[in-house]
Symmetry: C2
Subunit: 325 residues, 2 copies
């Protein structure tokens, strides 16, 4: 399962190719603004609404770009991954759109709603123990049994190029931005965002935002050494993964800073967006705004783009409800 | 407090004047679509997102049109109304935008969040008992003490013309529609919607949707006699009011039919929009889609516009939670 492409960093050209490749497959999501949140933060915010993307998250961009990049030979036996989250749904739908099978390894404690969604896109699901070891060994079995092509959720230049297309659209629609922010987990989104932003507008600062409770990217960035997290406890369930060598290397090269935010700040920002903008975002999406509400960055009178990464939330268990976890 | 204008029915010309008058004050809200909800309903739906309107509801259109229509003499002592809902916020903001005071009579059991919002727009609040009698007598006292101009939430041609501008935008953006649907409570929105739709596209059917538990408009429409409801019990809190002579007369002239929906259907439709479209709508907004999910109307292969009336929801008390009311 060695992926020969994963050592190569993508550039702006790869993002532009990806944008052309996925056009018509992905939604060109709107950029929204909120005068009341602008007033609260003393800035002008431009929210790129990837919560409106197919499968409810930016992940569909990278998955689609990668699936469409594969040759007939590479993809003839389908694609496979392990994921309990948005990448699983994204790969399942991207595979269905190309007419090939998808094999998804999911921890047996995955939320029912996510399992149903993946199955709804026609993917085959293999359940595993909820540990990284079990995920990887189960995936290896599935791949060797099916011959499916393994697509990593972020440690892949084609995935990164696909995720970066959201930033290209944001810069296109919002115009001149002083800062672009995105959350960081495994680093696929922020890597693509940074490559796209610096490629199009070198003067624009790129700032990653991360939960304090899962601050491995922050500590890696500060120390210059890749530190991996182990099972961090944050409500931002999309950001519990660690950087790869590839995404860490891109972040060191193109990201200007990483800021962190408390769990309370994430929940406050999420609720604020729901209340004022009337759109549903998941906790991971609220991390950049949460950092602004906690004054982790000087944004006064700046034009700031924020990528809202997704909107997949269990509506029966909202973070401001009692007994939520 | 006799309003001399309320006997006059507005026409398409009044809606077009209103559209020009409120331009720049109101948000031109987007029209959104959902391929998964289209698949479920066998139709093509175009959702006019008034949940993204200022104050979170279409009510701001009518309030703004009316406030901007008043002469300096009429408005010199400010404006007044009684409302526990979106009209209160809408009038408060419209008055602030014109630089005149707003006096709002609110029942003392109004949700804290709504009281805070009205106060946040700088309005003076007078609390009353939660009965129609107390509302009206308290309002009369406020008006006689202040000289403020009373603006009814729906029994006013200027309000109706303002609300109708949403339908003009919907028809403009979505193009050729076979059916346009809106919820009906007091009838301001559906009256404006019907006048606008029939004026621009006479062949398009206009269908009102109403909760079964507050079906006074449905029964009035069927019987030809205005029937008033008294304190109906529905989760669609924006639709508990009764028609006025003016709105009933417009509905009889321009609305093709009224369909009803169960409480369960409203909640199901509301949750579906949250889950699939990732936008927040209030129960009243979900009434038309709820009726479609309950097959109250043949919409197969039709192009159907639906006005999502607002997005003001208490996020601590969602209808699918236990112990909600």
């Amino acid at each position: 399962m060695v992926n020969v492409m994963s050592s190569r960093k993508p550039g702006l050209k790869d993002l532009k190719l990806a944008a052309r490749r996925i056009e018509g497959h992905v939604i060109r999501t709107p950029v929204m603004t909120s005068s009341s949140i602008d007033l609260m933060t003393g800035t002008r915010l431009f929210f790129k609404c990837e919560n409106f993307q197919r499968v409810g998250a930016f992940k569909f961009r990278g998955a689609t770009n990668t699936v469409l990049s594969l040759t007939e030979d590479e993809i003839m036996n389908g694609v496979a991954t392990h994921s309990s989250g948005n990448h699983a749904q994204a790969l399942a739908l991207a595979a269905r759109n190309r007419g090939v099978p998808a094999y998804i390894v999911m921890p047996m404690n995955s939320p029912r709603v996510k399992v149903d969604a993946v199955r709804g896109y026609g993917a085959s699901i293999t359940f595993c123990q909820p540990t990284l070891g079990s995920r990887e060994s189960t995936l290896e079995e599935v791949v060797s049994a099916t011959g499916a092509y393994f697509i990593h959720p972020y440690d892949d230049p084609r995935i990164i190029a696909g995720q970066g297309t959201a930033a290209l659209e944001l810069l296109d629609d919002a115009g001149n931005l002083d800062i672009v922010m995105a959350p960081v987990g495994g680093g696929g989104l922020i890597s693509g965002t940074a490559i796209g932003t610096k490629g199009v507008s070198p003067r624009t600062l790129v700032i990653a935002a991360e939960p304090q409770n899962a601050d491995d990217a922050f500590r890696s960035f500060r120390s210059g050494t890749l530190i991996r997290s182990s099972d961090p406890d944050t409500i931002a369930d999309g950001l519990r993964t660690s950087l790869s060598d590839l995404t860490f290397s891109i972040i060191r090269e193109h990201v200007d800073d990483i800021v962190t935010v408390s769990e309370a700040g994430i929940i406050k920002a999420m609720r604020l967006v729901w209340e004022r903008m009337k759109i549903i975002i998941e906790p991971s999406s609220a991390v950049p705004l949460g950092a602004l509400l906690e004054n982790k960055l000087d944004v006064s009178n700046k034009r700031v783009g924020i990528i809202l990464s997704g909107g997949n939330v269990d509506l029966d268990r909202l973070p401001w409800m009692n007994g939520r976890r």
